[in-house]
């Protein structure tokens, strides 16, 4: 259960300095660069996104905010689905559960956005520990069905037996979000230089959380866990027979993905000042599966694009005059086309085009 003790780390670091300096230092440098470049890319992306979205794609900032929230949800979900190879059909428990926990916390404990975020995420992690502990006993389709069952169970719990907490079918309406760090009005406007890019503080807050989430996901995927997760996806039995405690790593993948769902769910409450009962319904679990597959399983950025495209069709295309009423059909067609043409999702498609243009790396 423990990481290596501090002195061992120090020794290892000392060894590297003296013995393997050249090669290792270079590799370290290249990794630092890669991590920083990933973060910078995300920063630039979320910074220019609302401007491009609002001006060229008929978008509006509130939807851009929602896209990032679901993007965080999908990025975390991909750690479970794309990297570890586990299909959960119950992640609404963690998204919706965190949304409710955040809402109730804001109404009865503290309205500080950061504390609300922390409370919602902590609740999601706790739920994931329990649900994962019970569901991961079985693999494949049984795992998917078990998680679905827990999802529906939580939906019906929130709908009626726990209605005194959740306000039942009407959704939780008493959300009370205060100002950020006591000074910044989170639902207010932004100071001058930022106004060129975005028009409200909420987007900035969500964007910062998105960057942090992407950075965390990137970290995890480049840690030993990333390698172990992919090993479990590729050949679970072999992973067990090299001496890895596969079950505990799977539980960790489940909890980590739920933590991202928790961040997203809490932000969802902060964003909307309201928690609909719908957030626990099984369609919410299905949405994140579709977003992740659409964006590209097994890629870091893909799920962000998947979430964006899904919400774009749901909210913008559905408003088009002639096509609008058929948006479900359009979503279905887009999904089929993406999966057939680009089995690795939108991100796989981007990769493919980039390789065509650049001439392709020989991997």
């Amino acid at each position: 259960m423990s990481d290596e003790p501090g002195d061992a780390t120090a020794t290892a670091a000392a060894d590297t300095d003296t013995e393997v300096t050249g090669g290792f230092a270079d590799r370290w440098a290249s990794f630092r660069d890669r991590e920083i470049s990933t973060v910078l890319l995300t920063v630039v992306g979320v910074a220019v996104f609302p401007f491009l979205f609002n001006n060229f794609l008929n978008g509006y900032t509130q939807l851009a905010t929602l896209m990032l929230i679901y993007g965080i949800f999908a990025v975390g979900f991909d750690i479970l689905l794309g990297y570890t190879g586990l299909l959960s059909f119950g992640h609404a428990v963690f998204f919706g559960g965190a949304a409710y926990a955040a809402g109730i916390f804001s109404a009865s404990v503290s309205s500080s956005p950061l504390l609300v975020l922390l409370a919602g995420t902590a609740f999601a992690v706790l739920m994931a520990w329990i649900v994962g502990f019970l569901s991961l006993r079985r693999g494949g389709i049984y795992f998917a069905i078990l998680t679905l069952t827990f999802g529906q169970m939580s939906f019906y719990l929130a709908a009626s037996p726990l209605a005194f907490l959740t306000n039942g079918e009407n959704g939780f309406t008493s959300v009370d979000i205060g100002s950020l760090l006591g000074v910044i009005d989170i639902h207010g406007g932004v100071p001058f230089p930022l106004t060129m890019l975005v028009d409200n503080m909420l987007y900035v807050f969500v964007a910062v959380m998105t960057v942090l989430s992407v950075a965390m996901a990137n970290r995890i995927l480049h840690s030993p866990y990333g390698t172990v997760f992919r090993a479990i996806r590729e050949n679970e039995r072999r992973a067990e027979f090299v001496g890895l405690d596969v079950w505990r790593y799977k539980l960790m993948a489940f909890i980590i993905s739920a933590a991202f769902a928790g961040i997203a769910g809490s932000l969802f409450t902060i964003e909307g000042n309201y928690v609909p009962l719908q957030s626990l319904y099984w369609t919410e679990s299905g949405r994140v599966v579709i977003m992740t597959v659409l964006g590209g399983v097994g890629s870091l950025f893909g799920p962000l694009f998947g979430a964006g495209l899904y919400l774009y069709i749901e909210n913008i295309v559905s408003g088009f005059e002639t096509l609008g009423p058929f948006w479900h059909l359009i979503l279905g067609i887009v999904f089929v086309v993406a999966v057939v043409l680009f089995p690795n999702g939108i991100w796989g498609g981007i990769d493919y085009v980039r390789d065509m243009v650049v001439g392709g790396e020989d991997e």
């Binding site: 840690s223 030993p224 866990y225 390698t227 090299v242």
Partner: protein, 252 residues
């Protein structure tokens, strides 16, 4: 020193006794082969020892301690590694990553909370992975996807993964099954070499008698779940019970 010891080890599937009260001892540094006709219980025996199957009764001790009740990964962590009958690798990862996973498990144990540390901050893991790839002759292929290797090399990689666990004892389930004569020869050479270099103790299950007689110090013959003969290659070859089991089974 005794590395592996089984006492009255038995596995019953319904009315069928696949492994029947087998007593076996393997000493440090010894290369033992388990042979027998089809259905003799060889694979079941291996699966019992690696804890994939729960024995009906009997005892298994590894390095002096009972391993009954342990999970397979715990047995591996104690130093018993297994090479599979098929090329059981991580196909979509690179050759290097395949070795790295095994090295991670060897260096870090079965589980650790280190999901915020970069992989590159563990040079010992990297070193071990490279060493293993060198020793199975796949270092030059390290950047290729494991899937793209030919069958012989996949099996070598598989063996490499098993060796990366730095085992005290290696179980090999038909390591040359499905290989061409050339691949078989190079694999046998490889096994001989690592046995010498690492003073490896192994238990081999194999159909090919030539290989068995070539690399074993001792041979154990299993028939219908029981040990019917045991001894050096020459002793076993001349044992009438063995000849009966292999040649006379048809008349019954």
């Amino acid at each position: 020193m005794t590395v592996l010891k089984t006492e009255r080890l038995t596995k019953q599937f319904g009315g069928l006794t696949a492994v029947d009260e087998v007593d076996l001892e393997i000493e440090q540094g010894e290369g033992v082969s388990l042979i027998g006709p089809n259905g003799a219980g060889k694979s079941t025996f291996i699966n019992l020892v690696t804890r994939r199957l729960e024995p009906s009764y009997g005892e298994i001790a590894f390095q002096g301690d009972s391993i009954i009740g342990m999970d397979p990964h715990e047995v591996v962590q104690r130093g018993m590694s297994k090479s599979f009958q098929t090329a059981s690798i991580f196909p979509e990862l690179t050759v290097k990553e395949n070795a790295t996973i095994a090295a991670l498990a060897a260096e870090h144990g079965s589980f650790r909370f280190n999901f915020f540390r970069n992989q590159n901050s563990y040079p010992a893991v990297d070193e071990l992975a490279n060493e293993v790839l060198e020793s199975v002759g796949l270092y030059d292929e390290r950047e290729n996807q494991a899937d793209s290797l030919d069958y012989g090399n996949k099996r070598r990689l598989e063996l490499g993964i098993a060796l990366a666990a730095e085992p005290d004892m290696l179980l090999m389930d038909e390591p040359t099954a499905g290989m061409s004569p050339d691949e078989t020869k190079s694999t046998v050479d490889l096994i001989k070499r690592v046995k010498e270099e690492l003073d490896l103790t192994f238990l081999l299950v194999e159909h090919d008698m030539e290989i068995v007689f070539d690399i074993s110090d001792r041979i154990v013959v299993l028939n219908r779940g029981s040990v019917i003969a045991e001894g050096t290659p020459t002793e076993v070859q001349n044992d009438p019970a063995v000849q009966e089991a292999y040649l006379g089974g048809v008349e019954e």
